[in-house]
Symmetry: C2
Subunit: 277 residues, 2 copies
């Protein structure tokens, strides 16, 4: 074995494959007093430990938990490379994710001290230091999307099997190629969890965001736009809308933001040069 392969092998991240029920059927009463069966999504507390230090408790449905933990660490910029992580062990019996790093986290105390509570659904905390780092991000100027592919992506999501259709109360995120291939689909009780799980998979598998499109059912608030930029993704589609800060960040960071995507309709709010007829 040559040394570069040995190095790659030794840097594989050891992940559990946790699995847990995502929905539950409950009984309720409708307005006529009739008993109705009703599905609701799970919501579980997952406490993340990094090198035996308690970092955060995330509330999640539990669908792709190891990827969520990886993506959370990436999007908070606590570690710069996925190869810095030796293992992520999720144990739903105790609601814990145990992360072991290879070399520790630099200045973990200082970097997790400041808190920003954001407008996101779900995992809405970014550490304030993130805000000063995003200006260094450069997205490719030649990324593009064809209009018929926007419509195709929206239709793929519409037809995709989902927890939402069964139980509601979840948000979905999806990663697409520019050719509208669905590369990943994640639902969670918070839209931030869903996008973090996509980020975790991209990080783990070395997938570049530069030629990808991120779709979300949720609102494109500031933090969602920041996360897309961190993932290197220059094109964002939302079934919902955006906010003033989401828009300003997309403009500044070079992200094309498609709002209100539904059927053949959308409103392109920033960087319209990326849209091809």
């Amino acid at each position: 074995m040559n040394s570069s392969i040995a190095s790659q092998v030794s840097k594989k991240v050891d992940l559990t494959r946790s699995s847990v029920a995502l929905v539950r059927e409950v009984l309720g009463y409708d307005e006529l007093g009739r008993e109705v069966r009703h599905w609701i999504p799970a919501e579980r507390a997952l406490t993340v430990y990094v090198d035996k230090r308690e970092l955060v408790t995330l509330m999640t449905m539990g669908g792709q938990t190891e990827l969520l933990v990886l993506g959370y660490l990436r999007n908070q910029r606590l570690l710069s490379e996925v190869s810095d992580i030796a293992s992520v062990q999720v144990d739903w019996e105790v609601g814990a994710a145990v992360v072991v790093t290879r070399n520790g986290v630099d200045e973990i105390e200082a970097r997790t001290a400041q808190r920003v509570v954001t407008t996101g659904c779900g995992q809405g905390t970014v550490f304030a230091s993130l805000m000063s780092e995003i200006e260094q991000i450069h997205l490719p100027s030649d990324a593009y999307i064809k209009q018929d592919k926007v419509v195709e992506m929206v239709d793929i999501i519409r037809q995709h099997p989902s927890i939402y259709k069964k139980a509601g109360s979840v948000h979905a995120c999806a990663l697409f190629s520019a050719q509208a291939e669905l590369l990943q689909f994640v639902e969670d009780v918070g839209r931030h969890n869903a996008v973090d799980a996509i980020s975790g998979k991209m990080w783990l598998e070395g997938i570049s965001g530069n030629d990808k499109i991120l779709y979300t059912t949720g609102r494109l608030t500031s933090e969602m736009v920041i996360k897309a930029a961190q993932m290197g993704i220059p094109i964002l589609l939302s079934r919902s809308g955006t906010t003033e800060m989401g828009l300003a960040l997309a403009e500044q960071l070079g992200i094309s933001l498609f709002s209100r995507c539904s059927g053949r309709h959308f409103i392109l709010l920033t960087h319209s040069e990326r849209l091809q007829k």
Copy 2:
């Protein structure tokens, strides 16, 4: 002036009346390449300082900011009485809310150290110590709601002027009396901000939640149910749904949870004894 009135007067909380634009009109392009005018809600960073100590940065539309700050402090249980607060000064020029307490916050360092990042839209952080306190909450067993009032409340919300109708991307919360009087209506880019602003007003004005109903457009995840309990509110209506943990907490805390409220329809999931025909 007798001493009890003097004491009340001296304990008035000094609040600014900040005012800032809540929506903005922007230009976009629709799927036919036509220029469209489009409204989006504001999203602003508000850093909260308590006795000169930086506590948190909230992302908010900026509608009822002083009440949001009060409600945030209340729902995080950092102070037990609103009279512990001397003043809340919001300055949107610098994006800061300066809170001055009368006697400081006990163990502020320890009580803000643990972080729970939740599934909420928006302000989704509860300090972990909250979780251990909620079991002490007792909601009144004799609170009730009449079915025609549920329908009336849903209709009042439907007809109420809103940022949502103009710009989307916000959540609304409303406080009702059992007679379906609309007591407060708050929208924000995060549903947690909206409920916190309601909590802040109740705290400031000494309004009990025991005979009130809280309506939200958002999902009733665990933290929303916990906040309702902290506000003493035994009946929750949601246009959206709930999660497994939201349901379990409502059951445990004695909260009647009405899911999927729309038109005349709803699904009552817990404590159906509170519903009167």
